[in-house]
């Protein structure tokens, strides 16, 4: 693993816009699903997933879900259920209530905070089908009170149209009752516009390949979307008190995700820097996914030496990493200075996988520097607000003229007259 001065390190990020060809493909898929509905879905599943799925077979049956329970290990199910319980508890603390502000003149203002009615969760197929991500997307929706939670996931390629049993079990445990075997941009189009078999949703969550990501960008506005997930990242800010073996293990847990994953250690200690770099090499060789981790470490990994821990904090704030581990003697002394980081892990025992799987906070966290302005998936993402205005007659008579002044300044006479007509009737003009 490269050790370098922080000054040599460049952060170069941009947002994935896709090639013109990819965008055109996605635009065409969406247009066809909008026009032909289920028939288009069947066509694209055959074309892209090499599976025949007729409209009548789109929905995963209750029997399939039950059968899936027979195919997962009891040990897995126990751990999954306990994780689900922790995730539920953490997200329940985020739940908010509608509120009112009662004013002495009789006016009542309020903010009505309610769950979305119907949300769709995209779950990728193949190796990226993670039961933990199903929990992380679905449980906050359920805690928010979303009555209709829909999952879409591509059918196994090559004819069986089956869905991974672990995904089905995770979905059932999280409370999903409606699952469709369809993936890709066509699944996003179906969720956004609806088909005869799949009623449209209000918001789409979940990661996918470039076509899925572009399709989400295309339909944004027709429905809401969660975000654009980039490759996973960790930054570790450590001082000499850190255990190099722990730091290296956590770096590798990020690096094994994919070749684009990024893992950065930031430290003022040259001694720790060297020790971690050596440990990474030692541990890496023993990993089953060592080829992936190797590429990630070589291309996107680095040990950066800073002058002081404060310089490290400032570098972290520029990076806005998805995951940040504070492995210092006194991590709490740094917490208030961290401006940008999606999830912050404090101390030697808060290894990132604790948060990935089990502790309760969400593992879907802003990547690619977007922690500057966005947040881990949370209950608010599944709720919407409406304003409530009950304006009293007394308040209108008192304030009507000021409202008319402001409206007339903006050249909106009909706005002023909507007030004026009421004041006239009450004899106040």
């Amino acid at each position: 693993m490269r050790v370098m001065s922080a000054k040599e390190f460049k952060i170069n990020r941009d947002v994935e816009q896709g090639t013109p060809e990819q965008n055109e493909a996605v635009r065409s898929i969406i247009a066809q699903v909008k026009q032909d509905g289920d028939a288009a879905l069947a066509r694209f599943s055959e074309q892209f997933d090499r599976v025949k799925v007729e409209a009548g077979q789109l929905r995963v049956t209750e029997e399939e879900v039950q059968a899936a329970y027979g195919r997962v290990e009891p040990e897995f199910l126990t751990a999954l259920r306990e994780a689900a319980g922790n995730i539920r508890l953490f997200h329940e603390k985020q739940r908010r209530q509608s509120w009112m502000d009662l004013q002495p003149d009789g006016t009542v203002l309020g903010q009505i905070i309610r769950p979305l009615k119907r949300v769709g969760v995209y779950v990728p197929g193949g190796k990226a089908a993670y039961p933990s991500s199903v929990l992380m997307n679905v449980i906050p929706a359920q805690v928010a009170g979303v009555p209709e939670i829909v999952m879409v996931t591509p059918p196994a390629t090559g004819g069986t149209a089956g869905i991974d049993p672990y995904i089905l079990v995770a979905a059932a445990e999280a409370g999903v009752k409606e699952i469709y075997r369809v993936g890709g941009a066509q699944a996003i189009a179906a969720l956004a516009y609806g088909t005869a078999s799949i009623p449209r949703v209000d918001k789409i969550f979940g990661p996918g390949n470039i076509y899925v990501a572009l399709a989400k960008r295309h339909v944004y506005g027709v429905v809401d979307i969660d975000s654009f997930a980039g490759p996973s990242e960790i930054a570790i800010l450590a001082d000499e008190s850190a255990d190099p073996a722990y730091a290296a293990a956590d770096i590798l847990s990020q690096a094994e995700h994919d070749e684009m994953a990024s893992a950065i250690l930031v430290t003022p200690s040259a001694k720790l820097a060297e020790a971690v770099a050596l440990e990474v090499e030692r541990q890496l060789k023993l990993l089953p996914r060592r080829d992936i981790a190797r590429q990630s470490i070589d291309n996107y990994g680095a040990v950066l030496i800073v002058d002081t821990i404060e310089d490290g904090v400032s570098l972290i704030n520029q990076m806005a990493p998805e995951h940040l581990e504070l492995m210092t003697a006194e991590p709490m002394s740094l917490l208030g200075k961290i401006e940008n980081a999606g999830a912050i892990f404090l101390g030697a025992y808060s290894s990132e996988p604790v948060g990935d799987y089990f502790a309760g906070p969400n593992h879907i966290i802003p990547t690619n520097g977007t922690a500057r302005f966005s947040s881990p998936v949370n209950v608010d993402d599944f709720m919407k607000k409406s304003s409530m205005i009950y304006y009293s007659k007394e308040a209108l008579l008192e304030n009507g003229h000021k409202i008319m002044t402001l409206a007339r300044h903006e050249g909106l006479e009909a706005h002023a007259r909507a007030i004026e007509i009421r004041l006239q009737k009450e004899g106040k003009l």
Copy 2:
């Protein structure tokens, strides 16, 4: 104004994607600003606004702002300040605190809720430069605690490069200290990527023309954006108790906005329907903006007759209007049944302009049916969350094995080993 059965009424909405030519123009403008910075801004201001603005003149000076105060009427300033106070009070009630969850095994989990660091507010030029919208975008940012609030607005065309004094006063009253005279897609690009004169922001708010809207869509992901504003809409759900003159005046206050604005009355009362339609015609003739209102009413206005008030509620929920007025004898009895509406006005005195200008709730509200999944601008839009995980040694020793089970199932062995190495060191393996 057309009176028809609700059954004849079609809602047909889609999201504005722009023509390929518009998208290409926007892509090119963004690329040039990214590459040439301030020089590109000067070029585009000259090209599109016919104004020469060199980099050194981009920022509006303190003197210009002070001079603007001399150009607005005292009556306007008084009303504006009172409105600003009400908006501030309503939004202060939305402010949230970071929280922690302390667990008996020593684990501490939390959600850190903080303001964004720097946001940009786009204010259109010309007739759409509304001081009230400046307040509605800026005050929530200020209440959230955003330390850097930047405004961009196109310079007056034709050489003066001046900014409307009312806009400058509203900005100053709301607390903006940094204003740049630049508009269009080039302003959005500058906010997203930064130039030598305009440091980049974390999120962009505010409406604009089609080029501004497309530019926001393009940079979404590099920065966050607020939403895509469509034409303004009102729906009024009324029974026989409603005053037809009030309903008509409120309909017209919407219709005068622009030719695409939509105003719909929904009622089970044929008598009210006819009376409102007549009143609309009567009042419309007297309006200065009658040509705009006429087109809006003819193309997007309707009085819809439903069988029962419950049918009206269900129609409203399908429409998801930006503004909803409940003009019935007992509006509170309907409030709980309204699922989708951006802002809900109850009773005879809660005329929409009350909310547009003065009461306190935000007037930037989801349009075009997006109240299904989005919310009026609010303090949360200016904040972000980070998760905090302090996992105790005790918790890790207790739960480490379950975390390893879940990680190994997903094929992520390095995740399991990051836990395992700690359990080993503690003699728990």
